[in-house]
Amino acid sequence: MRPARASLFAALLLTGAVLQVTVINRLPLPVARPDLLLVLVVACALVSGPAPGAVLGFLTGLLADTVPPADHAIGRLALVYAAVGYGAGLLDDVEERSVLLPLLLVALASVGAVALNGVVGSLTGDPRVHWPTIARELPLIALYDVVLTPFVVPLVARLTRRVDRDAVRR
């Protein structure tokens, strides 16, 4: 990955991690909150492919595992977001063809991420894993994430194109 792209993604994901805990998680929404980081990981993976997507997801997850007030075993969200980044990256060349693809992808990724998070949590004996609660929150997390997608995915694609152009021109 070019350094210009890498610094763009680093800036986006750091900002996303802070916005997630200070603004998004405090929105008075019913039942659940959207996951901006997941949408960002999908957006970055869609423009960079499976291997960079997995690495970006892993690093993002590591950040989300440690930024306060996180209170679970370090590595859990790293695993979940790495899987999300890898999966979304596999579709990196399909992105231009359909507007619906990112929406479907984010919905699928949200469901998969929440479920995987629950599975890994119960494997490590997290007493917070309560499947009826997860089942209640899951559709709304997916819905909120899908609502964020049309704002985040095109923005990331446009910023990436601009950064690439500037790097070539220089």
Binding site: V21, G49, G61, V67, P68, P69, A70, G75
Partner: protein, 326 residues
Amino acid sequence: MRNSRRTRLVFALLVLTAFTLLTLDFRGGKHSPLGGIRSLVGAVFGPIERAVADVTHPIGGFFADLGHLGSDHADISRLQRENAALLAQLRLDVAERHELADLQRLDRLAAIGRFPMVAARVTAMGSSLGLEWTVTIDAGSADQVRVGQTVVDGDGLVGRVQAVTATSATVELAIDGQFIAGAELAPSGQICYTTGQGLAPMSLTVTNSQIHLASGDGLVTFYSPNTGLLAPGIPIGQVSTVETTPAGLPRAALVTPYVNFTALDVVGVIVEPPPPTRHFILLPSPTPSPSPTPSPKPTPSPKPTPSGSGSPAGSPAASPTPTRTP
């Protein structure tokens, strides 16, 4: 190179690393070898979260004010600038008024309950894909905040301190899935416990099938069976739905918390346990509610009637010590 062998190798390596970290951190428990990383990231992001919270704090007031703005587009620039300045002032005033009201309610609770308390503001909220209900507050070990202390706001129980740095602390909320609060039923003094279920009402488990439960009963903290002691006598919530066995005995119930967890702002950390007497003095109002029908819309923040709890704001020694950071 899409989905080549190398790509799959990278992914497999990442998964392996994540599992290694998980195992290390999970096995280590409180003395995890990764604890250093956590506190380092906490030390970096704590101040950032506080700075962002300072900026976003007045936003609630801002959105409320937007509705009253006129739609006159012919404003000359001087008027627009003036207007913006005034709005900013107003926005801040609204936020400050909210904060003052919160602080006053907290003060009242602290005075009646005689809790030595440190006031703090919520700066961030966790989610972990819906599994976790935790917040960061802007008071830490420098303000006498320690792990295990009880956190309240003007309405009642907020949670318990889970981790501290010098200037911030992580609080596990009472609605978190692993938060179990020992509770005492207001009319009878019977013991039961509540478990958090996210934004859904808490579940109440009875320890004794002979217990008398009715919707509208108030609950206060008693003790916490598995994770340390909570300060006793803190209002938790109100019984909203009672599920009975075929024989008519209560089996389980739902509890609507008094605290509005999606609008947490000013909270207090009880830095010393209060005297464990005068059980129900802090409940919002004596709710005799004889009707067994579940109240369909419980008030999110019940206003305590002044006559409900007779004790006037206590002695000078009882006043809390709010250490506000600017």
